[in-house]
């Protein structure tokens, strides 16, 4: 059969179809009109029209984080592309597989400061895994194939494809390659057996072992493999903010999240262990605190990661294992079974005693109140009402930390937040992406009155596409996290961190055609959440404005530049 001759725009659409794309999140404009015209005539994927390009990229990003598929966004040249940059950088920092298609001015106009021209490939270069500017219609299909392959293989990440308008109008044969071979890109998947054996030997002889897993376990679908090996070893484990859900929070071996707002027991065990097993994590500054303090205790470190550049970047590693985390953990489990008779589980008895002692601090306790709403209580009630099984997206700030701390996750891909870039505004578009990926499941967006206003326009998108997400706005009338730092480190000088002139969120929600609720008393928390998640409101977006304690802080806290074991606890704050 002779290949069909079609336009570049049609090739873009057919390529997306070949990649089994279900949703494209986008916003039209001059440079992509040919592509939109081709979208008009197809039924293979649904186009979700957002209200701002930043939200298109965030929503596609969350679609990917929740479903594991590649997220796709489509934006026009110039301002469309620059609006998308925050979303792209956010996805890049958290290694989310995405393909972003941007329109460009016609090839003959490039470099002439044409209307809506910007150097999109130049602007996005530092925040994409790779990008392409297509200058020949014959290259669209193969470039699209490469983009999807690069985005989803190795350490995943966003890939941008910039297509000048004239190229989308030209015609050529449509031949979509089945496979792509790049001599310069050959990601490893299998870990080195010798290294895995070495790691096991260290682990089995450890007196004070600790496992620390991160976002790589979630992205790499390695949660089951992780549970198998951790259950076999019987060692304590902590998750990073990005790794939550990678190991079930209800398991007794789970010590909670670690890091700047991690639990006392997780941070102490991390600091004090003699063998540390890091899986799909990257020793981020928010996780290990001051690296010099961290390294002041001797310990052996094993590190499994798909990205060789993550290994020995911030902390020197003793046993590096480069490979796909899932494959490495599965191999490790098999090898463990070969020599598990060598494993004396009594090795760690006194270590487990010590951890129990640390846990007695009960570092997550907070003083509840009968007259003013405590944010922690809202999250705990959300957990109860959703039976711990909702997708929870968050924005950035105190509410994000409380959601991470007080909503224990049992499954991977349920906790969706911007850990790396810390982008305020992601919460609502993230909820949209999850809800589209899982229309039947509950999606809660935990946000703050400052963050939600950064993408509030998406309430309109939610109306158009019937996305019944539940928004839990922890409204403390402050940029709470900023206020907390100002309280601790800037002598209570609350420079520009109050939120004045707030809208009436109930009316705002209603004006977009949604349901609004204002909740001011602790006794109303549970009834309100129950109603919002009731079958009666299953089809509706509900905006819950919880008026919370203005002075509440997130504890424990490792102050910036301090060591992991130098936490401020709630009890110190009296």
């Amino acid at each position: 059969m002779k290949p069909e001759i079609i336009t570049g725009a049609e090739i873009v659409i057919r390529s997306l179809q070949k990649e089994s794309v279900d949703f494209v999140f986008g916003y039209p404009g001059g440079a992509v009109l040919n592509i939109y015209d081709a979208i008009f005539n197809q039924k293979h994927f649904k186009h979700v029209l957002v209200r701002h390009e930043q939200a298109a990229v965030h929503a596609a990003d969350a679609f990917s984080r929740s479903s594991g598929k590649v997220g796709v966004a489509l934006v026009t040249s110039g301002p469309g592309a620059t609006n998308a940059v925050t979303g792209i950088a956010t996805a890049y920092m958290d290694s989310v597989p995405m393909v972003i298609i941007s329109g460009q001015v016609p090839t003959h106009a490039i470099g002439e400061d044409a209307f809506q021209e910007c150097d999109t490939v130049g602007i996005t270069r530092p925040c994409v895994k790779h990008n392409f500017l297509i200058k020949d219609v014959k290259k669209i299909a193969s470039t699209m194939k490469k983009a999807f392959y690069l985005a989803s293989s190795g350490r995943p990440g966003p890939v941008l494809v910039d297509i000048p308008k004239d190229i989308t109008a030209e015609k050529t044969e449509f031949i979509y390659p089945d496979k792509i071979n790049l001599r310069s890109y050959t990601p490893v998947s299998k870990g080195h057996t010798g290294q895995i054996k070495k790691a096991l030997e260290l682990l089995l002889n450890a007196k004070k072992p600790m496992i620390y897993s991160g976002g790589g376990v979630v992205l790499g679908d390695a949660s089951n493999a992780l549970q198998k090996i951790v259950n076999a070893l019987g060692f304590p484990i902590t998750n990073t903010l990005m790794g939550l859900g990678g190991f079930p929070a209800s398991d007794e071996k789970f010590l909670g999240m670690l890091g700047m707002h991690g639990t006392y027991e997780a941070n102490m065990a991390m600091q004090d262990c003699d063998v540390l097993f890091a899986v799909g994590a990257r020793f981020d500054d928010r996780v290990i605190g001051n690296p010099d303090h961290f390294l002041s205790k001797p310990r052996k470190i094993i590190h499994v990661d798909i990205d060789p550049a993550s290994i020995s970047k911030r902390v020197k590693i003793d046993v590096p294992i480069v490979g796909d985390v899932k494959s490495v953990l599965e191999d490790m489990y098999l090898i463990y079974n070969e020599f598990n008779e060598k494993h004396d589980k009594n090795n760690i008895t006194s270590w487990m005693e010590q951890i129990k002692e640390w846990s007695k601090k009960d570092c997550m306790a907070y003083k509840d109140d009968e007259s003013v709403i405590k944010p922690q209580r809202v999250i705990q009630t959300l957990h109860k009402v959703t039976k711990g099984d909702a997708f929870v997206t968050s924005d950035v700030g105190q509410h994000q930390m409380w959601a991470a701390q007080y909503y224990p996750f049992e499954k991977p891909r349920r906790w969706i937040n911007s850990g790396g870039l810390g982008t305020m505004g992601v919460g609502l578009p993230y909820a949209m992406g999850c809800q589209l990926a899982f229309p039947e499941l509950q999606v809660a967006c935990v946000t703050g009155e400052a963050s939600i206003q950064m993408c509030i326009q998406e309430l309109s998108t939610c109306k158009q596409f019937h996305l019944p997400v539940k928004i839990i706005n922890l409204n403390n009338r402050y940029m709470g996290m900023v206020r907390q730092w100002q309280e601790f480190f800037y002598g209570n000088r609350y420079a520009e961190s109050y939120m004045d002139a707030l809208p009436d969120f109930v009316k705002l929600a209603e004006s977009y055609g949604h349901i609004g609720m204002k909740i001011e008393k602790p006794s109303e928390i549970e009834p309100a959440l129950k109603e919002a998640f009731s079958p009666k409101l299953k089809e509706r977006l509900v905006f819950m404005d919880f008026i919370t304690d203005q002075s509440e802080n997130v504890f424990p806290m490792v102050p910036n530049g301090k060591g992991l074991s130098e936490m401020i606890l709630a009890e110190d704050d009296q």
């Binding site: 790779h130 500017l133 310069s184 060789p308 550049a309």
Partner: protein, 156 residues
Amino acid sequence: MENESGALSRVSGLFSARGYNIESLTVAPTEDATLSRMTIVTSGSDSVIEQIIKQLNKLIDVVRVLDLNDGKHIERELMLVKVKATNKYRDEMKRISDIFRARIIDVSDNTFTIELTGSASKLDAYLDSLDSDSIIETVRTGASGIGRGDRILKVQ
């Protein structure tokens, strides 16, 4: 690396974004027109150099990275120097150039233009040996390097 437009800016962007030093960088296509070869001179602690190599390898357009310092290698840089060549200097210039095996490639009433190839330190030594008042202009290419003997960097 792949001889693609933008590949050079990916490399230089990486160095500036991550705060690595670049002392010099040379690049040109190879005998295989789809590939170009770059020599970068940089400095840093062992762990920084290790990161630089890993980060370079991570760039999609980069096919292979080799640290020439890991083995025997040859390094050459080309320099063109324009010097004053008035009566007083003329013989002196010739003499020093002979010692360094530099070649005078252009002559005018008042100037010589001299070409010199060698390691960076040889070029430095040559400049040091000239009277600094006599130097009008210099241009250097930065080093290109290649392994000695059987040590080769090639893509199969």
